[in-house]
Symmetry: C2
Subunit: 235 residues, 2 copies
């Protein structure tokens, strides 16, 4: 799948379904993709291993795993084993309801800033992020308003932009898609979803719980796409 061109992009790759699809889209558009994955104390650490498999499979030009000091990302069910990951919620309610305890403080602005620094140091002007604002969990940093505001800040923050060498673009190709559409797009690009992990609370063998918001959205996406999710679930 890998094509070589002179356009570099930095791609945020979590190891989940959305970011794998985003990487495939960036590769299909002819970018040389510098994938980056963050290890930030998340309880679903198996997604970091998944990211490595996905980067190789889809054909990223490079893949780096970056450690983020956990001091910043506290108080979330994803980073604090004392806070329980909600299970068995009605997904249609959660999408429009209050921000859940799985929200990680300011995570996407930190990830995008880091990606921007890496892009500037690498001579890339394109950054891809797999956020989506339709079938999501109510996180504010997955919305178009935020992405646009960040892009504006990025173009004021950096020497490469201010000196006129280029303009940074934050690509969020999934932002207006439903999960089923994302999956169908990925299938058309030959994404192997058996390599991805979405669960917020996997067991010690890396099997998904099937009950957290992320699993429920994923399972509904596959069902609506008329496909079977190829990964293993508990029980």
């Amino acid at each position: 799948m890998k094509r070589i061109c002179n356009k570099k992009a930095v791609v945020l790759l979590s190891g989940g379904l959305d970011s794998a699809t985003t990487l495939a889209i960036a590769v299909s558009e002819g970018y040389d993709c510098l994938a980056i994955t963050f290890r930030y104390g998340q309880r679903h650490g198996c997604e970091v291993e998944a990211a490595g498999r996905i980067a190789a499979d889809i054909g990223a030009a490079d893949h780096k795993v970056i450690d983020i000091a956990p001091v910043a990302f506290t108080g979330s069910a994803l980073t604090d084993s004392g806070i329980e990951v909600p299970k068995d919620r009605c997904i249609d309610d959660t999408v429009s309801a209050a921000i859940p305890v799985t929200y990680v403080p300011a995570r996407n602005i930190v990830f995008l800033s880091y990606a921007l620094a890496y892009a500037e140091a690498s001579g890339a002007f394109d950054i891809f992020i797999g956020v989506n604002a339709v079938d999501y969990s109510g996180y504010p940093d997955c919305r178009q308003e935020f992405i646009a505001a960040f892009e504006n800040a990025a173009n004021l923050a950096t020497a490469a932009a201010v000196s006129g060498r280029g303009r940074y673009r934050i690509h969020a190709p999934l932002i207006a898609m439903k999960k089923a559409q994302i999956i169908l797009r990925g299938i058309s690009l030959k994404v192997d979803y058996s390599k991805t992990r979405s669960c917020y609370d996997p067991d010690s063998e890396g099997r998904s719980c099937g009950r957290c918001d992320s699993c429920l959205l994923r399972l509904r996406g596959f069902a609506e796409a008329g496909l079977k999710d190829p990964i293993a679930y508990k029980k």
Copy 2:
């Protein structure tokens, strides 16, 4: 100097003259200050030690040193020993000229994003940064346009802001001040500038070179303030 109140602020503290003054201003305004210092592979690592002394001296409620993976901040004279730090430049020219090689890619947006995550996790809504756009080295991320754009992005990125619990404010109290004014303000707040370090290229004993842009701006600031810089310089 320390006062106790219920208003918390996160303060970016590099160990230099500007951020020490900024911390003193935040403390004088009654904030409980959570100071953070980044270790990002800078050649002037002695400023990190200086930051610890300053935080204690000025009375920060807490001080953390955070490691930033060096992958992001490459290609700068401050992080790459193969790029020479410019010396003996005419400071009036540099302030209006091209962005120098001591620019670190996207550094302030990464620092501010990290500070934002820490603020949200800590229940703070105020972030202080010691950038200034007058006597500075031509860095784009020290300008008011950038600070305003970041503040806007911060208030769209975070659950605490979006859910109406508060609004994030990025305070840049030095942004319109000349170096001499900053020093006089700090002196009035009893900042001990002998504890600060500004040099981009100190020797192995931590003595400042006296010739890089940062030293030249500092020395001129003290001269214009009619004061003697209390730190040691080489030779």
